[in-house]
């Protein structure tokens, strides 16, 4: 009896594992079709800054992720489902996704990650040196009392009037993250529904000030 139930449990676990692998693989194969334009962003160029300032007047979202990090990918999927897919048509929103090689991600991983956003509003930047995460760590004040925490798995909202004038990006209007090393800072953990509410509030304020 006991042996029979153990065998059944083993079979059930085996089938579940196979289904999980097959589900991921099948979907991954489909995602290779989407090939977003990826801008290589290094310290010496200013593509991201130029794009950011050109989009003045839009609510701008900036996501810092590693395209191989499951938590970051879950964040991108949540942003796609709960924020970007629910925006009203013609919403004045721009999205910049800065991909950083924190746990081994590479530019080859970006197309599959990009598809999770279900949008053409996003521009993707690949920062192979990882300098941008170190820079943003200082900008966002990611000091946990003993060290600077690298800025990734971080989700930012910039108001329509934000301007990136100096070397560093401006302070965001709102920030969420999924970093274990920032426990002391009381910064909000990523919740895509709250994030969506903040985006919609900024859009509403912008439309009140400057009707479309």
């Amino acid at each position: 009896m006991l042996c029979g139930s153990r065998r059944l449990l083993g079979i059930a676990i085996g089938i579940s594992a196979l289904l999980l692998v097959a589900y991921g693989r099948a979907d991954g194969a489909h995602q290779v079709d989407a090939s977003p334009a990826v801008v290589v962003s290094k310290g010496e160029d200013q593509r991201l800054q130029d794009d950011f300032n050109r989009d003045n007047g839009f609510v701008r979202l900036m996501f810092l992720v590693d395209p191989r990090c499951p938590e970051c990918l879950r964040g991108l999927a949540d942003m796609g489902d709960d924020v970007l897919a629910k925006l009203p048509e013609g919403a004045r929103v721009k999205v910049y996704v800065v991909h950083e090689p924190v746990i081994g991600g590479s530019d080859k991983d970006i197309p599959a990650a990009a598809e999770l956003l279900h949008t053409t509003l996003a521009r993707h930047y690949w920062n192979p040196t990882g300098d941008f995460g170190r820079q943003m760590s200082r900008v966002l004040g990611y000091w946990n009392g003993s060290r600077w925490v690298y800025a990734w798995d971080t989700w930012l909202i910039y108001s329509p009037d934000a301007v990136w004038s100096g070397k560093n990006p401006p302070q965001p209007a709102f920030l969420m993250h999924q970093l274990g090393g920032l426990g002391n800072l009381k910064l909000p953990r990523l919740d895509s529904k709250i994030f969506a509410a903040k985006v919609n509030a900024l859009l509403a304020a912008r439309d009140q000030h400057d009707p479309p």
Partner: protein, 113 residues
């Protein structure tokens, strides 16, 4: 009656579940998840990661059951069956050390990043 099947069942269950807890706990710092499961599978793993503390609790409960099997006072008919009982105690203690080590390791990634 030998308790070996029950003891082996609960200890191997605890070991298996602690491996699952480690997979959930390490999913943010483990690039293998995308390689093995693909993007959607990795997203699913990350979405299920909230169950990790419950899985850890289940491993401890299974260990508790294992200990109760090997330390519960035996019935009169099993009094002479001492040697196998001793081996089963070693098995449960060994499994407990491994499971607790893996459970602790599964929480470490929460403090990284």
């Amino acid at each position: 009656m030998s308790k070996k099947p029950q003891v082996v069942g609960v200890t191997s269950g605890a070991l298996g579940l602690s491996g699952l807890a480690l997979a959930f706990g390490a999913c943010c710092v483990a690039p293998w998840a995308v390689t093995v499961l693909g993007v959607s599978g990795a997203v699913l793993l990350a979405r299920l990661a909230f169950v990790q503390p419950y899985v850890v609790a289940a491993t401890l409960a299974l260990l508790g059951i294992g200990f109760s099997f090997v330390y519960r006072r035996p019935g009169a008919e099993a009094v002479c069956d001492i040697a196998p009982q001793s081996r089963l105690r070693w098995l449960v203690w060994g499994a407990a050390i491994v499971v607790i080590a893996i459970d602790v390791a599964s929480f470490v990634p929460r403090f990284l990043g």
